[in-house]
Structures are given as structure tokens and as C-alpha cells.
């Protein structure tokens, strides 16, 4: 890709989608657009640019825009949601589910799989401590295409370098040239389903932990409220909801409440019988780092 090709694509994407690329994102263009280049039997990005400049390229232009605007996802993205998993949710679940030893986790915007696989790797790292436990991780996304990528579990060199510690790369990925494939033992821990959050999702069953990050920001107020309330219905009373850094339940619904000192982490509001203090006890326990 020549600097002129890059400049053209930057301008093209800005006009079509508002996407703004800084001057060092050539790799992003290559990792997103090379599949299109290959699919159409072109020789490279330069030929793609020539085709985009030619008249009648609308269908190609739409594909290029879609490929570039799909949200980026990193392994262990934002770090704290995974610290919450290790430090709060897992210890609480190991105690609360000690009898049935079965925990269900839902990644509601699984995208290309980095979030559910990050959770699976954390579980794997815990080793023998989880022997005899069943952790079910369900990843859903609106786009069947991104879920196909998630299922394949193949990532570019750039994708495995942001957020993923090198030791985990060595341990849980198989190298194939400049691509890295998640190991079968991690891949088999996650199941994927196409799902539109605007539709009824009650058939998914009850979950102990729900990750729903960076989705609500795209919805209007009534839709946010609706999705949160329906999520509350399938979250276990002692379960958890994790939202993205720019999202909150505050001012939208009473069905979840924030957990003190744990940014982005929420607990369902349990309608406790008179006198019972189930909900405050949980918040207190988490703040003290020792689930009751």
C-alpha cells in the first residue's frame, strides 16, 4: 500500500462513515481489507483502491466500509472488567455455586471472540482449583460474520499484541505464519450464537455473569432501558452484569445497582423479603473483598 493509497482510504472512510484513522493505522487497513482483496482475487490494497476510484464500485465500497467500521476488540480489553472477574465474580461464584459447580456466562457482544476467550483463558489459568466445575460461556453477536471469525479463532499478529500477555500467547495459541489460532482447549470452552439484542432473548436461560460491553452506547434511551430490564430477568439474583466504560444503569433502570468501588460492575436488585438484607450484604461483602 502506497502513502497515496493510504491517504485515499483515510479520506474515503471519513466521508462514508465518519471513521477517523490516525497516520499510523496502515496495519489496521491491511488486516481488515486483505480478506476482501483475497476474496476478489486482487493483487493488493493498491488494486482495491483503483477499483474503489472507478465508477460503479458501490458494492465494493460498502464492503470496505463495513470491514473497517466493525468495532475493534482486544484480548483483555480495558483490563478492569477482567480484574473484576478474577477478584470479585469468580470468588463469589466458587462459593455460591459450590453445590452444583456450574456457572453460566454470557458475552452479549462477543464480536470476534476476544472477550469470551479472555475469560476462558483466565479460567484455564486457575488450573486444578476448578476441577469438577463446568463453566459455560455463551458468546452472542448481531453479526454472523464476526461470529464466524470468533469460531475460527484466527487472529493477526497485531490483534494478539494488544492486551494479551506474551506468556498467554505462547500457552494458548498456535502460530501459523503471521496468524495465531486459539488452541482447541480454549475454543471448546465457548459456544456462539447469532442474536439481536432487540429481540426476545429469554430462551438463552439464566446466567450468573453477563458481559454486555460497548453495545448500549449505540442504542437510544428506551432501548437501553428495555435491554437492561430484560437482561435483569435472566441474571441470577446473586449474579453480575458488566457494562462498558462509557455505560451505566444509573438513571435508566432500578433492576441493577452499581457495586461500590468496582467500575462497570452491577448486581441485580433483589426484591428481598421484609427484613432480609441480601442486597446490601452482597455489596458490603464485595467491598470487603470477602464474599459471604
Amino acid at each position: 500500500m502506497t502513502p497515496l493509497d493510504y491517504d485515499f482510504l483515510r479520506g474515503f472512510l471519513k466521508t462514508r462513515s465518519g471513521l477517523v484513522l490516525s497516520n499510523d493505522k496502515q496495519y489496521l487497513i491491511e488486516s481488515r481489507l486483505m480478506p476482501i482483496v483475497r476474496k476478489h482475487g486482487m493483487t493488493g490494497i493498491s488494486e482495491l483502491v483503483q477499483k474503489l476510484k472507478a465508477p460503479g464500485a458501490e458494492s465494493l465500497a460498502a464492503k470496505v466500509t463495513e470491514a473497517m467500521t466493525t468495532n475493534e476488540s482486544f484480548f483483555f480489553r480495558d483490563k478492569t472488567p477482567f480484574d473484576h472477574f478474577k477478584e470479585v465474580m469468580l470468588p463469589a461464584m466458587l462459593k455460591a455455586r459450590a453445590a452444583k459447580r456450574h456457572v453460566r456466562i454470557w458475552c452479549a457482544a462477543a464480536s470476534t471472540g476476544q472477550e469470551p476467550y479472555s475469560l476462558a483463558m483466565i479460567l484455564k489459568e486457575m488450573g486444578p482449583q476448578l476441577a469438577g466445575w463446568r463453566f459455560e460461556i455463551i458468546g452472542t453477536d448481531l453479526s454472523g460474520e464476526v461470529l464466524e471469525r470468533a469460531k475460527a479463532g484466527i487472529y493477526s499478529q497485531f490483534e494478539v499484541q494488544r492486551g494479551l500477555p506474551i506468556q498467554m500467547l505462547l500457552k494458548y495459541f498456535i502460530q501459523n505464519g503471521d496468524q495465531w489460532t486459539i488452541s482447541p482447549e480454549i475454543r471448546s470452552m465457548v459456544h456462539y450464537r447469532t442474536l439481536n439484542l432487540l429481540n426476545d432473548f429469554s430462551a438463552l436461560g439464566q446466567f450468573d455473569i453477563v458481559y454486555c460491553r460497548n453495545v448500549l452506547i449505540y442504542f437510544d434511551q428506551p432501548t437501553k432501558i428495555d435491554v437492561l430490564n430484560r437482561t435483569a430477568k435472566l441474571t441470577a439474583p446473586d449474579g453480575y452484569l458488566l457494562l462498558g466504560a462509557a455505560e451505566t444503569v444509573v438513571g435508566l433502570t432500578d433492576s441493577f445497582k452499581p457495586i461500590a468501588d468496582r467500575r462497570g460492575l452491577y448486581a441485580p436488585t433483589v426484591k428481598a423479603p421484609a427484613g432480609a438484607a441480601a442486597a446490601p450484604a452482597k455489596v458490603f461483602a464485595v467491598a470487603g473483598g470477602r464474599p459471604l
Binding site: Y27, Q157, Q161
Partner: protein, 121 residues
């Protein structure tokens, strides 16, 4: 301010790394091969070392092994930054005491993520 020693025989790479790392709040020192880097470390141990593998005189791997033998040589966080992108090289580097590993080409996001990973930022 933490100091990062950038060790690479390419002046272009050193310049790019300097710009990124200065943006992350590091004071930068440069060395063009492992021998020069080692000489710098005899005097002052930097907090961080961004280390290329293939260099004339002394390569990055040999430098790392020598560094870790020095008094205080366990202290610097060493992040390899190299085109040696295969599992065998990565495993060798980690075994020799590297803290993280960047596969070239790299950008600011990757450097930032890796330096955060080892607790430098």
C-alpha cells in the same frame, strides 16, 4: 522520570521508538548494538529496555544474557522488539529473562499495551 534504553541498529526504528516512548513519559537513551547497550548499563541501569534481536557486534539475545548476570541487572524490564516472530525465538527470549515481546511491525498501541503489561506505565 523513568529511563528507557532503546537498543536497535536502525536509526529509523530508534527514532520511531523514541517518539512513542517520549509520548508515554520516558526519558530515552539510545544504543546501536548490544555491546554499547551493555556499556551504558555498566554505568546506569535504566528502568526499561526496548531491545532488537539482530544487531552487529552483539545481538539482543546475548546482551540480555549478559545483562541479567550483572549486579542489578535483574531490575530493568526488558521488552524485545524484533522481526524474529516465531514461537521458538519468543520462548528462547522469555527463558533468557525477557519480560515481554513485541513482534515488528509495531505501533504506539502495541508499545503502550506491552509496557503496561510489565507495569512500566
Amino acid at each position: 522520570m523513568k529511563t528507557c534504553l532503546v537498543v536497535d541498529d536502525s536509526s529509523v526504528i530508534r527514532k520511531v521508538a523514541r517518539r512513542i516512548l517520549e509520548g508515554l513519559g520516558f526519558a530515552i537513551e539510545e544504543a546501536e548494538d548490544g555491546q554499547k547497550a551493555l556499556e551504558f548499563c555498566y554505568g546506569t541501569m535504566p528502568e526499561a529496555i526496548l531491545l532488537d534481536w539482530n544487531m552487529p557486534v552483539m545481538d539482543g539475545y546475548e546482551f540480555l544474557r549478559e545483562l541479567r548476570k550483572l549486579p542489578g541487572g535483574q531490575a530493568p524490564k526488558v521488552v524485545f522488539c524484533t522481526t524474529e516472530n516465531d514461537v521458538a525465538h519468543i520462548a528462547r527470549a522469555m527463558h533468557a529473562g525477557a519480560n515481554e515481546y513485541i513482534m515488528k511491525p509495531f505501533d504506539k498501541d502495541i508499545v503502550e499495551a506491552k509496557f503496561a503489561e510489565v507495569g512500566l506505565i
